[in-house]
């Protein structure tokens, strides 16, 4: 007996609700294009600087240290505190920001001498990178003085401290994370002197470079952006050439959202004035990933205005979808204690409390004590995600 799999021509949905949202965002984006985001007064203002400007800040800082040495021989460095008590949710802009609590690190204190030596080492490396117009990864910084840092955790912390100390973004210091995310779809960009067509790079797409200062958006006819939590979903959409049927740009950070992917998403959504949808696992971790794209992480709250993409819609997989699409029980996974704890933590966040639909969905997850991965949808066939689930949601406006 020969079994033949027949691929039928899939229906093209009229994604009318997504198109409506696209028109709204476009109009709003054009109006707000020239308007600057105003941050609350009790928060720290961070600037995205070019090479020359960052070097200027380093010289200003070192001048002030030298001045202190001349004055009393006891220099210190002041920088905004990055503890959770100093993190503020700005309701108006929907961002997590850093408050104005300042901490001081003394050069002459036994408690902070190791920390300040590491900090100065990182500052020296940043200065070198900027002067040479080069970029380095966090790992390279660690290896530049292994004995001093001891553990990469220490150098990573110093890298963030240096950026905060200079009141700038980490990208402005030319220290970047390794490339992780990828992007595909209706977009043409420039990376230095090369024009890259994100539709013509095979099924893997373009690896989002951490050196985003070299990248510029050239052309696009996309109408929305789809952010996927998982690479597996990216492969599915890429194989289906989803963006050809539905004009979009698709990207994934392959799990937790890294800086470059977040920054790139913010750039394309803001410059192109497009609505953004996320497709994550139906579990607290997936919801957390969505929240990080949406309003930033607590750890990097000082950079939120440059990393967060406010007003992202959570397209799925929602807890209510488990019932709506009748996901079989054997494709659902019972929540463990950590999942329950994380869901409760999410429910205690102010930004969740303010979004009733989101709160309801998380409460439903707590009631059902069930979670599911995006891949659970393939129980209805490999094409279900691209031919039914996503288009149907975009057509009916079934998102949070």
């Amino acid at each position: 007996m020969i079994i033949v799999a027949i691929k039928t021509e899939s229906k093209k949905w009229d994604i009318k609700e997504a198109k409506k949202l696209f028109q709204e965002y476009l109009e709003k984006g054009i109006k707000e294009e020239k308007k600057e985001t105003k941050l609350p007064e009790n928060t720290v203002k961070i600037d995205d600087l070019n090479r020359k400007q960052t070097l200027g800040r380093i010289y200003k800082l070192t001048d002030s240290i030298i001045e202190m040495i001349y004055k009393n021989g006891r220099p210190s460095i002041k920088l905004p505190s990055r503890t959770s008590g100093n993190i503020i949710w700005d309701e108006e802009n929907d961002l997590l920001l850093l408050g104005q609590q300042i901490m001081e690190k003394q050069f002459h204190s036994l408690g902070s001498v190791a920390d300040i030596t590491r900090l100065m080492k990182v500052l020296e490396k940043v200065n070198e990178l900027l002067l040479k117009d080069m970029h380095a990864t966090k790992r390279e910084i660690f290896y530049s003085a292994v004995q001093l840092f001891g553990d990469q955790k220490n150098s990573d912390k110093c890298i963030e401290d240096v950026a905060t100390m200079l009141y700038t973004t980490r990208n402005s210091t030319h220290i970047v994370a390794s490339a992780k995310g990828s992007c595909i779809g209706r977009l043409r960009i420039r990376d230095r002197n090369d024009i890259i067509d994100l539709e013509g790079l095979g099924s893997g797409g373009w690896t989002i470079t951490p050196m985003l200062d070299n990248v510029e958006i050239l052309e696009s006819d996309a109408e929305f952006i789809l952010v996927l939590e998982k690479d597996a979903a990216m492969i599915r959409l890429s194989e289906a050439r989803f963006w050809r049927k539905y004009p979009c740009i698709i990207l994934t950070a392959k799990g937790a959202a890294d800086i470059a992917t977040r920054m790139f998403l913010r750039r394309i959504s803001k410059e192109l004035k497009l609505p953004v949808f996320t497709l994550v696992d139906s579990d607290p971790y997936g919801h957390y990933i969505h929240s990080v794209y949406l309003r930033g992480s607590k750890r990097l709250s000082y950079e939120s205005p440059f990393l967060a993409t406010p007003d992202i819609k959570l397209l799925g997989v929602l807890t209510r979808d488990l019932e709506k699409y009748k996901i079989p029980n054997d494709c659902r996974i019972p929540m463990n204690q950590t999942d329950i704890k994380r869901t409760k933590e999410m429910l205690s966040e102010d930004f969740v409390k303010k979004n009733k639909a989101w709160e309801t969905d998380l409460k439903l997850a707590l009631n059902l004590k069930m979670k599911a991965e995006i891949q659970a949808l393939s129980t209805f066939g490999f094409e279900f995600l691209t031919d039914q689930y996503i288009p149907e949601k975009l057509s009916t406006g079934d998102w949070i």
């Binding site: 002197n193 024009i195 510029e216 050239l218 052309e219 696009s220």
Partner: protein, 172 residues
């Protein structure tokens, strides 16, 4: 971004020409060529195609050409050389696009630098070749008309022979 609206409610967005003024001088030309060769055909709407063609012409006259002229008129021969290499490629493929800078290239022929000289000559040769091609196409059209007239008996054999001779000389 510069927005172009499609009839079906969709859009095409292209980078604003003001941003291109900060680019390396050869890049605006590469961009124009890229959009013309690769993207234009993908926009189904003829109205949008026309608008984008017009915008690309603006980029050419407002950004690309002034940028090149500035370099060709300057004294930095490394930059001049780089620009000429790019112009040479374009003059071979799409001579009309870079024709406005012909007088500036002509000036460079007299410079005493071997590379600059040879590139300038090559560019001028491409321009001349393109002009001759255009002239020939026009003449061919006239010749076809004359042939029709001759066959219809409205043109004398002498006149036809004269026109034919002129055409063949140009073709040679």
């Amino acid at each position: 971004m510069k927005i172009f609206y499609k009839k079906d409610g969709g859009i095409v967005q292209l980078i604003d020409k003001e941003k291109m003024k900060e680019w390396p001088i050869e890049l605006p030309l590469i961009f124009i060529e890229y959009v013309r060769n690769n993207q234009l055909k993908s926009y189904d709407d003829p109205k949008i195609k026309k608008e984008i063609e017009k915008y690309l012409d603006e980029v050419l006259t407002d950004v690309a050409i002034p940028g090149l002229i500035e370099v060709l008129d300057g004294e930095n021969f490394e930059e001049i050389n780089k620009a000429l290499v790019r112009i040479d490629e374009l003059a071979k493929k799409t001579p009309d696009m870079v024709k406005p800078i012909k007088p500036f290239v002509e000036k460079l022929i007299n410079k005493n630098i071997k590379e600059v000289n040879s590139l300038s000559n090559s560019i001028i040769a491409s321009f001349n070749k393109a002009e001759r091609k255009k002239e020939l196409a026009e003449k061919r059209k006239v010749m076809q008309e004359k042939e029709k007239s001759f066959l219809a008996g409205n043109l004398s054999g002498e006149e036809y022979a004269k026109a034919r001779k002129e055409y063949l000389v140009l073709k040679e």
